[in-house]
């Protein structure tokens, strides 16, 4: 078990260094990406600024708490791009061209190989950076901020990453029937977009839906709630459970759906 972990960590490091070298070949792209990301993050902040000009709290969240929530979405997005997201975005292309073959013949789990194939620092760098700034700014303006919550915040960020990864596996497993993956990733994109709303806005059926079917209400809310000091153990346990469930189901479904891959003819 420990060996497997070390092996995949080494692999990740190797893929990351190759991708960084690759990305440095295109510096202009990098600058444009960062600029765009920061712009859209600022649009988000202005939206909430206007919203909070009229009301004090949304679902019990104050303005500064919401900044942490929105910032966390940016941070999670960047972490996802750094670990797996880009591979899923390109999966349709790999399947269509038959380049997915290599992932099936090399001695690495396909779910990990696909994730690591194109880990990107720069694709969501502006969003990540801006997210971090928002989280820091919000945290500095909290009335009851405790430093001890930071490590738990980080831990739950990684838990959210696991949910996100499991969700990607479940949705993208369908690519072997559809061949194109663009529509699938639009689904994932909207999923992440709804993550910036606090979980408290959902009630009844909606709450269940956005917890167990599309777990976006947990992704940013749980870590942010910990940092602002409004999380209870129930929420944390629920998030851990959902992460374990989505990861397990995602891997099972993914490994089963690979059977239906019909490689492109050469």
């Amino acid at each position: 078990m420990k060996n497997t972990f070390t092996r995949y960590f080494t692999l990740y490091r190797s893929f990351l260094s190759h991708n960084l070298k690759n990305e440095m070949m295109y510096r202009a792209n990098f600058a444009i990406n960062v600029g765009m990301d920061i712009f859209f993050m600022l649009v988000n902040v202005f939206f909430f600024k206007i919203l909070y000009g009229n009301i004090d709290t949304v679902g019990g969240w104050t303005f500064y708490q919401t900044l942490i929530l929105v910032g966390s979405v940016g941070v999670i997005r960047e972490l996802a791009y750094l670990t797996f997201r880009k591979g899923f975005l390109e999966l349709g292309e790999y399947v269509r061209t038959g380049n997915f073959d290599v992932m099936l013949t090399s001695p690495v789990a396909t779910s990990a190989h696909l994730a690591f194939r194109h880990v990107s620092l720069t694709d969501s760098f502006g969003e990540g950076l801006m997210g971090l700034v928002l989280v820091g700014y919000g945290f500095a303006h909290l009335d009851a901020a405790t430093w001890i919550s930071i490590p738990f915040y980080l831990l739950m960020l990684f838990n959210s990453l696991a949910i996100y990864y499991g969700f990607c596996l479940l949705v993208n497993g369908l690519v072997f029937w559809l061949v194109k993956s663009q529509e699938l990733n639009t689904v994932v994109y909207y999923f992440m977009n709804t993550a910036r709303y606090p979980r408290e806005i959902y009630h009844g059926l909606g709450k269940g839906l956005f917890t167990f079917l599309i777990p976006s209400s947990l992704i940013a809310t749980t870590p942010a709630a910990i940092l602002v000091g409004r999380a209870d153990s129930g929420l944390v346990l629920l998030s851990l459970g959902v992460a374990a469930g989505f990861l397990t189901l995602g891997l099972l479904f993914w490994n089963w759906s690979i059977h239906f891959y019909s490689s492109a003819s050469s």
Partner: protein, 358 residues
């Protein structure tokens, strides 16, 4: 670390296989392998596409039909067949990329599509039309990544690189981005990247496709040398007769998904090809029709001629041509592989896809 129960081998130390009893050391064992693809027929035009949304006709294509063969350790065998005969599908099943519809395969004692990591560390597949190198980075970077993917020891890695770089003459290319390399140089690098983990079984799908003659020759001699040095079992598909002639003693000919010939290459060309092709360019314009004394003329005009001549007659005919005509250029060529294959396939019943309505 599981072995297939059908395997006659048990795994010993260091990835070696021991032989039990009197089994012949076969590395690849294929029994009654079948693969049927299901596709859908679509009527042409927008109307057809719209109709296809609600009702589709399923077409079953038998890409591989009850194929059986086995390869011994260190053999270098050529796979011949026209496009769409099922060669690539077969290699993909042996690599675990595709699942068969039915049948059994054992490679090194493993069932490929179980994708056992121990199996994956011991074989490689190189497809001439696919690229696994990183386009914007120098090949040396891709080699390093493959080292980590296959978990190759650093000293062994360096030794393997040095060895292959000198065999393929790649020293000056290792630090140039792949996109700036020629097709031939890229193919050589593909080979190196695939062989870093020193596979015991190697599948090559059209390794020389699209390459110039010199690059083809270089890759051919490399494969031959590598097979001789490492005793790697190689299964190769190619369109070029020269590839197969230079490399393989034994060939498997496949058509419509089934094996129609399994045996020595020499027997194949003796059995099916008894002539060569002579091509001539005349020095000065000739009569528009060939003289009656000349037999086997396929094409003839005032400037060129092509003759199909029995092998035994080649020397005599060439002599006759050179003495009777003023010739600028003359070449004697082997009959192309496609033609031999066409010849063989002319004897085979057709096996087109069956259609079943859904």
């Amino acid at each position: 670390m599981k072995n297939s129960p059908r395997s006659p081998f048990v795994r010993g130390g260091l990835g070696e296989f021991k032989q039990i009893g009197n089994y012949i050391m076969s590395v690849i064992d294929v029994k009654n392998l079948n693969k049927t693809y299901k596709t859908h027929r679509k009527e042409s035009g927008l109307k057809g596409s719209f109709k296809g949304l609600f009702w589709r006709e399923a077409v079953y294509k038998e890409a591989v039909k009850s194929v059986s063969f086995s390869l011994e350790e260190g053999e270098l065998v050529g796979f011949l067949g026209p496009n769409g005969a099922g060669k690539t599908t077969l290699l993909k099943m042996l690599s675990g990329i595709l699942y068969p519809t039915s049948g059994e395969v054992s490679v090194l004692g493993y069932t490929p599509w179980e994708r056992n990591r121990d199996y994956q560390r011991q074989f490689a597949i190189v497809m001439g039309q696919k690229n696994q190198l990183w386009w914007d980075l120098p090949p040396s970077e891709s080699f390093l990544l493959n080292r980590d993917i296959y978990g190759v020891d650093h000293t062994i890695f360096q030794r393997a690189i040095d060895e292959m770089v000198s065999l393929l003459d790649l020293k000056d290319l290792l630090d140039i981005p792949v996109r700036q390399l020629s097709l031939g140089q890229r193919m050589k690098c593909e080979l190196v990247a695939s062989l870093l983990h020193q596979p015991r079984v190697l599948f090559l799908d059209e390794p020389t496709i699209g390459l110039d003659v010199i690059s083809q020759e270089k890759i051919r001699s490399f494969i031959k040398e590598y097979n001789r040095l490492k005793k790697t079992t190689v299964l190769l598909t190619s369109h070029y007769m020269q590839d197969v002639e230079a490399l393989c003693k034994r060939v498997l000919v496949i058509n419509h998904g089934g094996i129609v010939y399994d045996g020595a290459l020499s027997a194949l060309s003796e059995r099916y090809v008894d002539h060569k092709v002579i091509k001539i360019r005349f020095d000065s314009p000739q009569a528009p029709a060939p003289p009656d004394t000349l037999s086997g003329v396929v094409e003839w005009d005032t400037a060129h001629a092509v003759l199909k001549v029995p092998k035994k007659e080649v020397a005599r005919t060439t002599h006759q041509l050179l003495s009777d005509f003023s010739i600028d250029d003359l070449s004697v060529e082997e009959v192309e592989i496609e033609e031999i294959i066409r010849h063989i396939f002319a004897e085979q019943p057709d096996g087109a896809g069956k259609r079943i309505e859904e």
